[in-house]
Symmetry: C2
Subunit: 142 residues, 2 copies
DNA sequence: AATATTATCATAATCATTACAAACTAATAA
DNA sequence: TTATTAGTTTGTAATGATTATGATAATATT
């Protein structure tokens, strides 16, 4: 579901964000890139295309997207924040070998225990960690 | 289920950790304190009792406990790690108003998606955020 | 075009965590 | 007991991710 530059721009405008070039590029990157990139990944990759890009801008833009509820912050790891476009609810699996974060379907609402009936739930995160199939098979061939 | 000093000491020895005074105090603190304390909370509270206690020791000891699988790290928030004694699997709810982290029962295994059948799962975390009943009722009375 | 507003940049500041080396304590052996 | 070794704790310095700040550039508004 590759969106055009113009379509991405509209998405930003919908959220009352000015569709600057940098913002569109960062949004596009988040859409295209699998594995839920970190700030460093985003910055390093986009820096090749946009040499003037500053890391501050990446931070600013991501925080802007978070406030606009376009993007979610994943705190699956304690030393590095990852970012996730908000589409539908899903769980996250981080491979401890290759650091890729995979999405998986999960019906989170089924989880909700009775003991939470008096709580106001704003966010739900399901984080799994382990080894992904690709790294598992590599390990076997070593 | 308050454990005595001697019993806590035995727990450490079981895990091949020397039962030093500091380690026992930190373990005891984790057992007694509700809401999953941060390093700062642990340090500040224990510092009153043990004025010579160093924050390094708190970090060292917690990491030791994690390696020994006595304690789990909670990365529910991106700016502060919380710690959780390993007992049985449960979810964590963080109140965004009072910062307390509540446990709740959850049957994670029932919900594991088929798409993860080829993944080796080592850790499972379920993090919810929102407002706890106590803060909700406070808000209503304001 | 002039002015006000917003974006971006570059650097400095912050803050949680880790690394490190010295000081201290406990365990073991002679 | 003393000497030796291993393990623990401390305090400070280093690291590294993130945020704050002030200057500059771009865009929108009048």
């Amino acid at each position: 579901m590759k969106l055009t530059f113009a379509e991405l721009s509209t998405e930003l405008v919908k959220k009352n964000l000015r569709p600057s070039h940098h913002r569109i590029k960062i949004l596009e990157y988040l859409l295209d890139k699998q594995g839920h990139p970190s700030v460093d990944q985003i910055f390093n990759d986009l820096h090749k295309e946009i040499p003037t890009l500053s890391k501050s801008t990446v931070y600013n833009t991501l925080n802007l997207f978070i406030t606009a509820r376009l993007v979610r912050m994943l705190t699956i790891e304690d030393n590095e924040t990852r970012y996730d476009l908000i589409v539908d609810k899903h769980g996250h699996f981080k491979c401890e070998s290759c650091d890729t974060i995979y999405d998986f379907k999960i019906n989170i609402d089924d989880f909700i225990a009775d003991e939470l009936s008096d709580f106001q739930i704003n966010d739900q995160d399901v984080y799994f960690k382990g080894i992904c199939p690709s790294c598992l098979s590599n390990k076997n061939t070593l």
